[in-house]
């Protein structure tokens, strides 16, 4: 299998040069490297320029509503554990309208991967402020520049107990492919915050700006992704401007394990027809004959 096998040939609606192209290629490459059968993969996305990504994969795809990729993605996985489920969407999706789902998905630790295609603006609505827009960024909805403290995805994720947190950059595709593979391989919820520049509406946080500001974990002196204290401090020191696997905790029980689903057959294979014996059991509380 190669990258092409995972493309359905639909031409993306993205602006030429948009960071999202590289994210798409990276998922396709990761799937090819991991040899995931096409029909065993489901990509669930939200709404935004980024949300279109599920529509370009030659796999099952569900383009949900703004901010809701995670509720769909989690339940798809819980319904059929044989699937590889990847959720994806923009920073508006993840940190504004869907913020609560993001936090709770982290807490639950369902075995899926979430790719946040972070361009620090709302692309699809043509350049509005996002919760991760940096202070001072002038947008259509903040002509004087954004004023509110930006959300810090890394600290937020680690604070919520993330078992896997990584950051990537569209211009570092090879690394991004490895991050996505590691995320998919991770047993539990993996969140990958990807700096994916919007070349049309964010003239500040450009490819060059990221090249200049992003450091690798190594450069930041963070050599052990299992070390939470170190992860937290480098995220603070770099103000989140770093890439690589920032935190990974292996052996953390997944939602599936905590809820006794891990050893069950995939839920879709459970027979529906109730037996008389089950009926007796379910109605025991209501019967009054003794």
């Amino acid at each position: 299998m190669n990258m092409k096998d995972y493309s359905n040939g639909v031409h993306p609606t993205w602006c030429p040069g948009c960071g999202d192209f590289s994210v798409l290629r990276s998922i396709q490459l990761a799937a090819a490297h991991l040899e995931i059968p096409r029909e065993k993969m489901a990509v669930v996305s939200g709404i935004g320029c980024s949300g279109r990504i599920s529509g370009y994969m030659n796999t099952y795809g569900f383009h949900s509503v703004h901010g809701r990729s995670l509720p769909v993605a989690q339940s798809v996985k819980l319904s059929n554990k044989d699937l590889t489920v990847v959720a994806a969407g923009g920073d508006g999706d993840a940190y504004a309208i869907g913020m609560s789902h993001t936090l709770h998905a982290i807490r639950r630790n369902v075995n899926i991967t979430y790719l946040v295609m972070n361009n620090q603006v709302y692309g699809l609505t043509k350049g509005h402020t996002s919760p991760v827009s940096q202070v001072g960024l002038k947008t259509k909805s903040a002509p004087e520049g954004a004023q509110d403290t930006p959300v810090h995805p890394g600290l937020l994720a680690l604070g919520a107990g993330a078992s896997f947190y990584a950051q990537g950059f569209s211009a570092e595709q090879e690394e991004l492919v490895e991050l996505i593979k590691a995320g998919i391989d991770h047993k539990g919820f993996s969140l990958i915050n990807i700096f994916s520049p919007c070349i049309t509406y964010n003239k500040t946080n450009t490819y060059d700006w990221f090249r200049k500001h992003l450091v690798t974990c190594e450069q930041a002196g963070h050599d052990d992704p299992e070390n939470l204290t170190s992860a937290l401090s480098v995220l603070q020191e770099t103000q989140g401007l770093m890439r690589g696997i920032i935190f990974r905790k292996t052996g953390e029980p997944t939602f599936e394990e905590n809820h006794h689903l891990a050893n069950n057959p995939p839920m879709i294979e459970v027979p529906l027809e109730p037996t008389a014996e089950k009926f007796q059991r379910w109605t025991a509380r209501f019967r009054l004959d003794g």
Binding site: N8, V10, P37, R38, E39, A42, I47, R52, S54, G55, M57, N58, T59, Y60, G61, F62, H63, S64, V65, R68, L70, P71, V72, A73, Q74, S75, V76, L78, S79, N80, D82, L83, S100, H101, L103, H104, H259, H260, L261, N264, P265, P266, M267, I268, V270, P271, L272, E273, P274, A276, K278, F279, Q280, W282, T283, R285, F286, R287, L288, D289
Partner: protein, 569 residues
């Protein structure tokens, strides 16, 4: 001649008043009586007055009576709030501890006996003892019932409760001497169950093969998620408590898309949040079952009071236009059966199905003839088979194929040859976004024609009583209406509607044409069902609304007075 007795047990919330009543109901049901319990409580945990009103009969009971025969009070408020409802030969009993100096009230040593033999909390058992003795119930029956409910708390607690019960049975109360109990039953005992609407819905869902429930707690729907959280793990299923109702409904959509029968349950405030999900399910043609146990609105409204005012919003749910089904059970039995139907319809028509309940239907325990095991018909609708699948396993499966029925084969992720796209955007046959006008019209028409075959399915139940006028209702009102016409001997035909959307227009037209007047009885201010019916089929000059919106269920004597007036007009 059939008879009824109504007992109201009231006290401070959090002191076991409801369970006292329910234990009494269970004991009575176990020996062949029929009971119905209406609960009143406030949205706080401890403190505040609460009561349960229980009507007992030798025949099935579907609502409480308008008057009360016995009030058993653990607090002053119970007497103050309800004494005006007492029947002429009615009796007011109160815990001696309250020090009520009213000659009309009989004081009983409830707390005193409880303390003597166990702990003050056992005053509930003590009350059951006095009531049991007054009703002429064999003590052994109550002993069994109390044993069963306190078993989990250990032998000591059970034994103390037995002593309290014994104490109540052997205490002589002068003012109660010579009163008659409830009539001895003449017919043989049926096999019965006692359950409330929420229990029946949960049972129906289990029987229908529901294995995934995502929900957010809310009165009066929470029991459903609670039951499912106990049962589903043993069935290799899952109840997940979502972070909000938006997540709950969207998770159900995801599970259903993946091939698992799923359901969520909520009430008005949650339903408002679920509108987004209803639209997504409608547009993506994903089966979805949502229980809406209505309570009084708008906003947080009166969380523990009855109302049927979500209907209008639901009938017109969501932005945009999409097909949706609204089923409305009116009895416990229908809660069970229509829940099974809801799962089948959702998959057959690939659309959201709302199961519309209300506070009183969801939360009133009732003795019913036992539901018997029958393998339900499970209809999963059109699912792609081998020959429909793509040989090359490319992303080209026509999930939204334009068929004559408007229903296209579903395929679940994981299936080879079924790869396709799903999107909330308008889309082509393979699920790719498209805003071309030709495609749009075709897709709108496809979704719109799905219900052609549903239209004819019978969804009205009519009881003829030589009436010149008809009274139509839905939900818990049905139990009140049925009792009203019977108890007051009214010549009024009565009906209830089990499917409000799509409205059974032809069936209603045919029925309505036989009457000069049609009374539509509903618990909301604006006559929402009447409005929908007028909008869909006219009859403006025949339709009269009978509404109530003070939070309390309709009472038979008020309904009788209104219907009599309209009969004579």
């Amino acid at each position: 001649m059939s008879w009824k007795r109504t007992i109201l047990i009231g006290g401070i919330q959090g002191e076991g008043v409801a369970s006292t009543g329910i234990n009494l109901m269970k004991a009575l049901s176990g020996i062949g009586y029929y009971t119905y319990g209406e609960r009143k409580f406030s949205s706080r945990i401890k403190g505040g007055n609460t009561h349960i009103m229980i009507t007992i009969s030798d025949e099935p009971v579907t609502c409480v009576t308008s008057n009360i025969n016995i009030i058993m009070a653990f607090d002053h408020e119970t007497i103050d709030e309800n004494r005006h409802l007492l029947s002429e030969d009615g009796l007011m009993l109160a815990d001696e501890k309250l020090g009520m100096e009213d000659a009309a009230i009989v004081s009983l040593p409830l707390t005193k006996l409880a303390k003597e033999h166990g702990s003050p909390l056992m005053k509930n058992t003590c009350a059951i003892g006095f009531l049991g003795k007054m009703l002429d119930i064999d003590r052994g029956v109550l002993e069994e019932s109390i044993k069963r409910s306190y078993q989990r708390k250990g032998e000591k607690v059970v034994n103390e409760n037995m002593l309290v019960l014994h104490g109540a049975y052997t205490t002589q109360v002068e003012k109660l001497e010579g009163r008659k109990g409830i009539p001895v039953l003449s017919q043989s005992k049926q096999e019965v169950m006692m359950l409330m609407g929420n229990d029946a819905i949960a049972l129906g869902a289990l029987m229908a093969g529901c294995r995934f429930v995502a929900a957010y707690p809310i009165t009066p729907a929470s029991d459903i998620m609670e039951i499912m959280s106990r049962v589903l793990p043993d069935e290799e299923g899952l109840m997940i408590q979502a972070e909000d109702e938006i997540a709950a409904v969207t998770m159900c959509i995801g599970a259903s898309y993946a091939g698992v029968r799923s359901m969520t349950a909520t009430s008005g405030p949650g339903l408002t949040l679920m509108m987004e999900g209803l639209g997504l399910a409608g547009m993506t043609e994903t089966p979805l079952v949502v229980v809406d146990a209505q309570r009084s609105g708008p906003s947080t409204g009166m969380p523990t009071r009855n109302e049927q005012s979500d209907l209008a919003a639901l009938y017109h749910a969501g932005h945009g236009e999409f097909p949706m089904i609204i089923l409305s059970p009116s009895t416990i039995e229908e809660c069970y059966e229509l829940t099974i139907d809801a799962f089948n319809l959702a998959e057959e028509y690939q659309c959201p199905v709302i199961l519309l309940s209300d506070f009183n239907l969801s939360l009133s325990p009732q003795t019913i003839e036992a539901i018997r095991y029958r393998q339900p018909d499970i209809n999963r609708g059109v699912i792609a088979v081998e020959k429909d699948l793509m040989e090359d396993n490319e992303d080209a499966f026509e999930r939204y194929a334009l068929t004559e029925t408007g229903i296209s084969p579903r395929v679940f992720p994981g299936t080879k040859g079924g790869i396709h796209k799903v999107t909330g955007l308008e889309h082509t046959v393979t699920g790719r976004p498209s805003d071309r006008k030709g495609n749009r019209a075709k897709m709108m028409n496809k979704r719109n024609r799905k219900f052609a075959s549903l239209q004819d399915q019978n969804s009205l139940s009519v009881e003829e009583r030589e009436g010149k006028i008809l009274c139509l209702t839905f939900g818990s009102n049905w139990g009140v209406l049925k009792t009203t016409v019977k108890d007051f001997g009214l010549k009024v035909d009565i009906a209830h509607i089990a499917r409000i959307k799509p409205l059974p227009v032809d069936q209603l037209k045919k029925l309505f044409s036989r009457y000069s007047k049609i009374v539509i009885m509903e618990q909301n201010q604006r006559g929402q069902l009447a409005g929908i019916i007028k909008q869909e089929l006219g009859f403006h000059d025949k339709i009269i609304s009978l509404t109530k919106y003070d939070g309390e269920a309709f009472r038979t004597k008020d309904v009788a007075a209104q219907l009599e007036r309209w009969c004579n007009e």
